[in-house]
Symmetry: C2
Subunit: 257 residues, 2 copies
DNA sequence: GTCTGTATGTACGAAACCGCACACAAGACT
DNA sequence: AGTCTTGTGTGCGGTTTCGTACATACAGAC
């Protein structure tokens, strides 16, 4: 489950810390303090990192995995609040002071993440330095994603939401493949499995995606973006804005406005 | 619009700082620093405190007013992300580091709020003392509300959501009256006005509420809670948990678990 | 090859909600 | 008093999604 950490690795399948964009963004000084405590951890599909109400003992920096923050209602129906991949951290409630969240964190796409003891993260956060700023800034981006999800749930069709969901997932993985059944996607979107089947069929027959028993491949990403609602672009822009600010070394000129 | 501030007031219509629960929760030391900069401000119905993307020059601590954080989509359709009343602050993006949010803050129920210059709040936040902790903790509660709203949008009927919305609003006002047209409620919930008319008619004919051209009165609150989905209770519990922690003087025993 | 569980496809009536159109009534304005 | 604006009530056809039931097809186990 855990291995000794490595700054870099020759095996492209084994991620290094810098594959997480938050870990990559911090300065050398903080890296020196944090990196020794990072434990590379395998996250199998469906693994629950936190259950609703759990006290968090670790936080996770995904590298090539994706974690969904899922809200589960009393009657068992669920809705995805946000997605966390290599651009983020799972466990923000830790430093926000609540200790626990009323949502479940579940591995949506298997891979690896760097695990960090809550105390270590809290200690670094409480130094009120760069990490503090970075984490708050990330939380802000996460809030944007949640707000957009709420609005998207209200106003957009399953077809559009599936496109959004696929794009958000693809952004967090390398390559154009994703292992995910329609049943699980339906849980994330909070809709029936049949609804996803229908939406995915349309995309497949239009040649935009290709799927087969839990394996999805995106063939025509531009068209996927075209069929998507605005929600994807807003979330992505906010996420990019975060890392623009934290790029090292600081750029003199920003390539995009 | 602004008046000289008063620690207390004899006129029950003019709120004092302590009518905002965040301002009430902070210690005497911080009060000394903050209170002189607070400006009592009138918030008329429909006033926009921030437009999407605005840089925030002030933050607001509502007393007897309610502010909605509303997400407005490209096509003009909208959805309420969260509500802020005397339990909170409008403008969290300021200290979260994003400077702006992609949502609109609009006065949903007219009243007063204490306005504070962004620089002053940021300065106090950056002392990393009690205010810092309190604001982050509040943000966590707000995140919970947003997550719950997202899930509620997905799974619950207009009838249930109207109950939730009424309860959340009533909690933030004294009395059992609310001035609000069905049209505006529809904007908040992101549904048609007719849908609200129908849901409100049911409540009225059941004797739970009484309304008349923009004036709503809650007659049977227990029944309102009974018809509501779980979402209200979750949000309220999280909000209460925040102030339990910050009650002064600290209690030896907590009356509720 | 057969079996079995899992993933996906299809169908159909019901419910919720939408968009629209219009009626009506209470205040506000002149 | 008459007119206009605003807030609410109602009806109807259309769309989306739901709930449910069942069929099909693939993959791995034996």
């Amino acid at each position: 489950m855990s291995r000794t950490i490595q700054q870099t690795t020759d095996d492209p399948e084994i991620p290094c810390q810098q594959d997480n964009r938050l870990l990559k963004a911090i300065s050398a000084e903080i890296r020196g303090r944090i990196y020794p405590y990072l434990k590379l951890t395998e996250l199998p599909l469906g693994m629950v990192l936190y259950e609703s109400g759990d006290v968090m003992e670790n936080v996770y920096f995904p590298t090539n995995s994706i974690v969904s923050l899922l809200y589960v209602m009393e009657d068992g129906r669920s809705a995805e609040i946000s997605v966390v991949g290599n651009e983020g951290i799972v466990g923000i409630a830790l430093f926000m002071g609540g200790l626990s969240t009323p949502s479940r964190a579940i591995v949506q796409s298997a891979g690896h993440a760097y695990r960090l003891d809550s105390k270590q993260l809290k200690a670094e956060f409480d130094r009120h330095g760069e990490m503090h700023h970075l984490l708050l800034r990330y939380t802000q981006a996460l809030i944007t994603q949640m707000a957009q999800t709420a609005a998207c749930n209200r106003h957009h069709t399953i077809d559009q939401q599936l496109c959004r969901w696929l794009l958000l997932s693809m952004d967090r993985l390398k390559g154009n493949k994703l292992d995910m059944t329609q049943e699980l996607i339906a849980n994330m979107l909070g809709v029936r499995r049949e609804g996803v089947t229908e939406a995915a069929s349309k995309l497949q027959s239009a040649g935009i995606i290709q799927y087969h028993r839990g394996h999805i491949r995106v063939l025509d990403r531009p068209e996927l973006e075209h069929r998507c609602c605005e929600c994807y672009a807003v979330v992505k822009k906010e996420s990019d804005r975060l890392f623009e600010e934290f790029s090292y070394p600081p750029r003199q000129q920003r390539p995009y406005r």
